[in-house]
């Protein structure tokens, strides 16, 4: 399933909220940012975009993402985004 703009055949873009925590928050120097992304995108590609945009390249390989408060289990999966969706960049956990 691919969402396309019927006029241009390009994927629709959506505005999502990207959240940063812990070391990501410090490196990106923000806690929350609106980011425009394709409505369908492979999770790893989305993560790469965010990593480049927000200066997280040094920790890229330790990051996972959560989409609307649920972990994206496999970064090879495609995710489908809607305007206003919440995407969190998750560095290694250290609760407990």
């Amino acid at each position: 399933m691919v969402f396309v703009n019927m006029n241009t055949s390009r994927p629709v873009s959506v505005d999502i909220h990207v959240l940063f925590f812990a070391k990501c928050r410090e490196l990106s120097q923000t806690t929350r940012s609106v980011f425009t992304v394709p409505s369908e995108i492979r999770a790893s590609d989305l993560l790469d975009k965010i990593v480049i945009q927000f200066g997280l390249t040094t920790i890229r390989h330790n990051l996972i993402i959560a989409h609307n408060e649920s972990f994206v289990e496999n970064l090879n999966d495609s995710i489908f985004l809607k305007d206003g969706d919440e995407l969190a960049v998750i560095p290694p956990l250290s609760g407990g």
């Binding site: 812990a22 070391k23 972990f71 956990l93």
Partner: protein
């Protein structure tokens, strides 16, 4: 009942234990995670915790559901995690469970702390004495 909280002030362990006690239960198991005073020879002055709060609460709730699916006899489950600055030697996390028999209570608490460390979005930064850089920790165990 499930008692789940992210807390900005000291965790009252006695209160937590009372919350999970129940006349039908012969066993309560409690785990207390405490900030340690040193790491690799560096003296820890304090810890700061932050969470992706809404998602953390959701994941803590999922842990409770998983526990109840595995040990249906569990009566009460409590998962309290502290956020913000935690001085040395204070509890950062308390997990407790009650059940008619000990096996469920003991196993559930062990499982819950393992799960919490691996899937609840909470992060800890250690602040050291002297001019060592503060460090974001990673759970590895």
């Amino acid at each position: 009942m499930n008692h789940i909280k992210l807390i900005d002030c000291p965790i009252d362990v006695t209160y937590a234990i009372n919350l999970i006690s129940d006349p039908s239960c012969g066993a309560s198991s409690i785990f207390i995670g405490t900030t340690r005073d040193s790491f690799q020879g560096k003296k820890v002055v304090s810890l700061a915790y932050e969470a992706y709060e809404n998602m953390a609460l959701k994941e803590m709730d999922k842990i409770c559901s998983d526990l109840r699916a595995t040990w249906p006899d569990l009566k009460h489950i409590l998962i309290y995690h502290r956020l913000g600055t935690v001085p040395e030697n204070e509890a950062s996390v308390v997990i407790a469970a009650s059940a008619p028999h000990r096996s469920a209570a003991l196993k559930a608490v062990t499982f819950a702390i393992d799960q919490l460390k691996s899937r609840v979005p909470i992060w800890k930064k250690e602040i050291y004495e002297g001019n060592h850089d503060a460090e974001w920790k990673e759970n590895s165990e």
